[in-house]
């Protein structure tokens, strides 16, 4: 049982290491999905939000982690 729990925990850790990074990525995807599905924004706008959002999230997380450490 302990082995199974350890394996499941590791599987979750595959995708979530720093929780704030995971949440920020999901937020970016959520905003892009809102633009695409609800507001019917142009594909270019959705693509730019997705790409730019991911870049911004990565930079912010790195800087915050380095300062914290």
């Amino acid at each position: 049982m302990r082995t199974l729990i350890a394996i499941l925990r590791e599987v979750a850790n595959l995708f979530v290491d720093d929780g704030s990074l995971a949440l920020a990525i999901l937020a970016v995807v959520g905003i892009a999905a809102f633009l695409a599905i609800i507001l019917k924004a142009s594909a270019l706008a959705v693509g730019l939000v997705l790409l730019g959002g991911c870049v911004a999230v990565l930079i912010e997380n790195i800087m915050r982690t380095v300062r914290r450490n």
Binding site: D17, A22, A32, T65
Partner: protein
């Protein structure tokens, strides 16, 4: 017919990502075989490989039943979570903010843990050693399975991506049997850096396609995204190094 421009990033990413994971699993399996001999190490590893094979056989056909746009979004988001996690770790390690992974240290830790178990559970030690090898193969193998499925599903690239992963497995096995030591000289962080870039690029591409974005240049956009993230990552490393001057020295 899958074009080389489409298959090359998938095969390369699957190969390099699998190389990292197989090296990590090999370190643990080697520790097991050093302490308790080849039998529990091989049996535990084989049991892990069988479980992984069953997962692929069960999950693989199920993917064909999922609508393509849903599959693209789900896999794209998982790739973003996975790829950006690797990229973040690689950047922080390259900047000196987080220590590099040391295969020799991992081997020593696994060996010490098994020795502790030997003192506490002498009678069950072969079983514990086998479970340790099994866990290592399953955990690292799950990452390989995910990467292969994520990169290959939806574009008919499952076989090329699988071949990339298989090549990594064979390469590590040959090198490991030859040297019989932890493969500490594999540039793990450089590999993680490159694979994190590619997986993140794949993640942006798939998520966008799932949301109806027709990326300019089609599949070539993946390389464009990888270049964007490479520039951002290199800039982040340089900037972060200035914030960690004592380590950079």
């Amino acid at each position: 017919m899958v074009s080389w421009a489409t298959a090359a990033p998938a095969v390369t990413s699957a190969f390099l990502a699998s190389l990292v994971e197989v090296v990590e699993a090999f370190t643990i399996v080697l520790a097991v075989s050093t302490i308790r001999g080849y039998r529990p190490a091989i049996l535990g590893s084989l049991a892990g490989l069988v479980l992984l094979g069953l997962l692929v056989i069960v999950l693989g056909p199920m993917l064909n039943r999922v609508p393509l746009d849903v599959l693209q979004i789900v896999i794209g988001v998982l790739l973003l979570l996975f790829g950006m996690r690797w990229l973040r770790t690689a950047i922080l390690r390259a900047a000196g903010a987080v220590p590099l992974r040391d295969e020799q240290l991992k081997f020593d830790q696994a060996t010490a843990n098994l020795k502790d178990d030997a003192r506490a559970h002498q009678a069950r030690l072969d079983w514990l050693a086998g479970i340790t090898a099994f866990k290592a193969v399953v955990l690292e193998g799950l990452e390989v399975v995910f990467i292969v499925i994520a990169i290959g599903a939806g574009r008919g690239l499952l076989i090329p991506a699988s071949l990339g992963a298989l090549a990594a497995f064979v390469l590590v096995l040959i090198a490991g049997i030859a040297v019989r030591r932890p493969l500490a000289r594999v540039p793990e962080n450089t590999l993680k850096f490159g694979v994190g870039l590619m997986l993140t690029a794949f993640g942006v591409f798939w998520t966008g396609e799932g949301l109806g974005v027709n990326w300019p240049g089609s599949d070539l956009a993946i390389l464009g995204f990888a270049i964007v993230f490479l520039l951002i990552a290199v800039g982040s490393v340089a900037f972060a190094r200035r914030l960690v001057p004592e380590i950079a020295k």
